[in-house]
């Protein structure tokens, strides 16, 4: 399966509707400090069902909703939609294209959907499990993960080999 399209609204600094496609290969994301590059990655992670707000650099769930800028008011919800090409059937669902959407309102209401069918967070997490994405996978690597890879105990390292089995 491949992630092919990403749609973001109201997530962190992405106050406006934002879309992009991924066509394979290496995409280098560039821009000045604080412009939103890591936030873009956070959006993908959150869309995949990331449960731990610490991994999103937040202290409360609603921290991920755009809270305004000096010349822009805050918005009422954050929403991320991820589109997967499932031609090879890796995702355990009978569809060649799979849209996963996650929304969170300021009031704290969460909504999830798979191909427009409302579902629960655990359904999204289960769909993604064993795809190599989401927390079980080693899909998102920053300086912390790099440091950990070597500083980790021999047991932890064995765990990663188990996950690649």
């Amino acid at each position: 399966m491949r992630l092919t399209r990403v749609k973001i609204f109201g997530f962190k600094t992405f106050a406006d509707r934002t879309e992009f496609s991924l066509e394979g290969g290496v995409v280098a994301v560039v821009g000045p400090n604080g412009c939103g590059k890591s936030n873009l990655v956070d959006a993908i992670l959150w869309g995949l069902g990331e449960g731990s707000i610490k991994h999103l650099r937040a202290s409360s769930s609603q921290d991920v909703i755009f809270s305004g800028a000096q010349a822009r008011k805050q918005v009422g919800y954050a929403e991320v939609s991820l589109c997967f090409d499932n031609e090879d059937g890796t995702l355990p669902i009978d569809a060649s294209e799979v849209w996963v959407t996650r929304r969170l309102t300021r009031a704290g209401d969460s909504e999830y959907s798979i191909n427009r069918q409302s579902c629960r967070l655990r359904d999204v997490v289960e769909l993604m499990a064993d795809s190599g994405l989401g927390r079980a996978g080693y899909a998102i690597v920053g300086q912390k993960e790099i440091d950990q890879a070597l500083a980790a105990s021999a047991e932890d390292r064995r765990g990663w080999i188990d996950e690649a089995a």
Binding site: A28, L150, S153, A164
Partner: protein
Amino acid sequence: TRDKFVNTFNAVRDNFAVMFTRLFGGGSAELSLTDPDNVLETGVDIVVQLPGKKRQPLQLLSGGERSLCASAFLFALLKHKPAPLVVLDEVDAPLDGRNVERFAEALLEFSEFIQFITITHNHTTIAAAPTLLGVTMQEPGVSTLVPMRLPDSVSG
């Protein structure tokens, strides 16, 4: 599952030895079992010998050496079980000119079967990437995307 681990370990171990030497332009490294007789519970250790140097405990390695070594391990896992999407957030920051070139080449090779998103400030990585996605704040505090180089334009 015992065989599964052993097979996976052997494959990843071989991949790691190859990727380490490739990324460092020399030297050698090994994954080893802390308890070979107890495969169900054994841990996995890393032993490295950098080009021209003797074997050293991992802690003595430099920042860039650690980063490149960890990348070799990541590539070794990915070669065995590719993830459809791998996001790298400024992992090339501690690398010097030669190391970042070899790292970028490895990324390009692996990108035949893995989609990489690599956040970077590094000019070598930027020059090597076929696709660029710019993120800007025209309006302060609000991010917008600026596609800067499309996959079919082969111009630098």
